[in-house]
């Protein structure tokens, strides 16, 4: 079914054209359990470093 473009869609598309968009690979990494376990550790370490720096 051909969907009609509402003014909302047109506005959204015009904005979206120049926005940086993630590739499918980047998107899949965001919810890849193994990769995210690694990121969980990395982000926590980064946060702990800043928390330590902020409490000193």
């Amino acid at each position: 079914m051909a969907t009609e473009k509402t003014p909302f869609d047109q506005g959204r598309q015009a904005q979206g054209v120049f926005a940086t968009k993630p590739t499918d690979f980047t998107k899949s990494l965001r919810t890849n359990i193994l990769w995210q376990m690694v990121r969980f550790v990395v982000i926590n370490i980064k946060m702990i470093k800043v928390i330590r720096k902020s409490h000193s």
Binding site: D9, Q15, A19, K21, Q36, M47, V50, K53, S54
Partner: protein, 486 residues
């Protein structure tokens, strides 16, 4: 000799943290008294999930009196109204006046004397600044747990309509040109979008973000820069990217002049006017001080001496008006002590910031359309703890505050939920150091690029869940609570 009395106004992130640490460090050496109008503690960041129907209000709140009783902290369920920092007449004992909010005693005035006072009353949600804004008008809010519940019920209604085939327009963002807390609006819109997808009605929804930011990703912090993929990239690129990916439309540089049912009238920075139509609007209010008054011993009103026109309390910041280019990180307060009274402090949102962080801008009509500076949970708690430590040391003989907690010298870790699901959810983990950019120390971006960081992914969502449980556990002051960092 009677024990020193430390009175804390407000049982939010800052006030509750102060009370908990004061009691831990002082034990029986002093009386710790908390005055707050509501008997509950609310972990406000999780209100977002109440607002999309994923949590119940009782999962983000708990009753304070049993906790305070267990810890020997005195609690008055009351709303502080007037400070008497010099006492009254011949009695030089400072005291604070409060109106009870207890059922059956509402409005009854109580007087609580103090040796040290911490004002941690947070923000007044100033819906009245925009005609028609707020749950009593034509838009919703997620600033309190009951507001968030109302938003979730309205969302259920919209979803029911979409299931019947109707299109629905959602408008989410800031309800005034001077709002802060864009992070909360950002979280709500991306969670809303995620939830509409989960409920199978995304194709029936037009979702618009409406903001007073000059560009997306400003967040009242003048934006942040992050090293990523071989570039130093500003936060507006990341935010636009996420919005474009999720099919969200955005309208920036906007002040909401007023709301009618289903329609927001706007004024833009360039002087143009416009409107946005909606079926459901969640628009945040601007924040003001809660309107505390102060009287001297003779009963003369000294509110102006203690408070800025915004109603927030003046502390040891440099409040001299100066042009944007002359703003310094060192203008920001260090000890949060009132310059007027050595035993008076403000913590969390209650202190008056010296200036915004984002460049101030006005429309040709003179309407200010600039985000106010953010005061998120982490700095509020760190400030609450630092003020508590200073007071402990002053009780034990120190002449002046011993601790500093400048927002220009501390970082903030913030996890903004972008969809709640243990396997498919994501959140943006953002770390900035320092919160207030310091262009003298970090000339190019104002921040330490080795510590400033941002990433979106499922790990962020897991961290958000962990923080929800950890911070509620900590606030309940259960075993080893003080080991959990602010």
């Amino acid at each position: 000799m009677s024990r020193p009395r430390v009175v804390i106004l407000g049982a939010g992130v800052a006030g509750h943290t102060s009370a908990a640490f004061l009691k831990k460090w002082l034990g029986k050496e002093a009386e710790v008294i908390v005055i707050s109008p509501r008997p509950d503690y609310n972990w406000i960041p999780s209100n977002i999930w109440v607002g999309v129907g994923l949590l119940r209000p009782d999962q983000v709140t708990f009753s304070l009196p049993p906790v305070y009783q267990r810890k020997d902290i005195t609690f008055h369920q009351a709303k502080a109204t007037v400070m008497h920092p010099e006492g009254q007449g011949d009695d030089h004992t400072p005291f604070v006046e409060a109106e009870s909010t207890l059922e059956g005693r509402a409005g009854e005035v109580i007087r609580i004397p103090y040796d040290y006072l911490i004002n941690a009353t947070g923000p007044k949600l100033a819906f009245e600044a925009t005609p028609g804004l707020g749950p009593k008008g034509h838009s919703l809010s997620v600033c309190t747990a009951p507001h968030a519940l109302e938003a979730s019920l309205a969302l259920d209604e919209s979803v029911a309509r979409m299931r019947k085939g109707e299109r629905q327009r959602f408008l989410v963002g800031t309800g005034h040109g001077t709002c802060t807390c864009q992070g909360a609006a950002f979280e709500y819109i991306v969670n809303l979008e995620f939830e509409l997808r989960a409920r199978g009605v995304r194709d029936k929804a037009d979702i618009t973000y409406l903001s007073n930011e000059f560009e997306l990703g400003d967040f009242g912090m003048g934006g942040i820069h992050i090293r990523r993929g071989g570039y130093v990239t500003p936060s507006n690129i990341f935010t636009e990217s996420l919005f474009a990916e999720r099919g969200l439309r955005w309208v920036t540089q906007a002040h909401v002049k007023g709301l009618e049912p289903g329609c927001a009238s706007l004024e833009f920075l360039n002087g143009e006017e416009g409107e946005e139509r909606f079926d459901l609007a969640m628009l945040l209010p601007p924040f003001k001080g809660v309107g505390l008054k102060a009287l001297d011993r003779q009963g003369t009103d000294i509110t102006d001496r203690l408070f800025a026109p915004s109603g927030f309390m003046k502390v040891d910041a440099d409040y001299q008006a100066k042009p944007f280019e002359s703003w310094r990180a060192s203008d920001w307060p260090h000890t949060y002590q009132s310059p007027a009274y050595r035993n008076l402090f403000a913590a969390g949102i209650a202190f008056a910031p010296p200036h915004p962080v984002s460049r101030p801008r006005q429309s040709p009509k003179g309407t200010v359309i600039t985000p106010a500076p953010p005061r998120t949970g982490m700095p509020s708690a760190i400030i609450g703890r630092a003020v508590a430590r200073s007071i402990v040391d002053m009780i034990r003989g120190a002449e002046k505050p011993t601790q500093t907690a400048s927002m220009a010298e501390m970082g903030a870790a913030c996890v903004a939920s972008a969809g709640a699901n243990p396997f498919r959810g994501t959140a943006a983990s953002i770390i900035v150091f320092p919160i207030i950019p310091d262009f003298e120390r970090y000339p190019e971006y104002g921040r330490d690029m080795n510590h400033t960081f941002g990433e979106i992914g499922l790990a962020g969502h897991w961290i958000k869940i962990l923080l929800h449980h950890l911070f509620i556990y900590k606030a309940k002051m259960l075993a080893f609570w003080s080991l959990i960092p602010e």
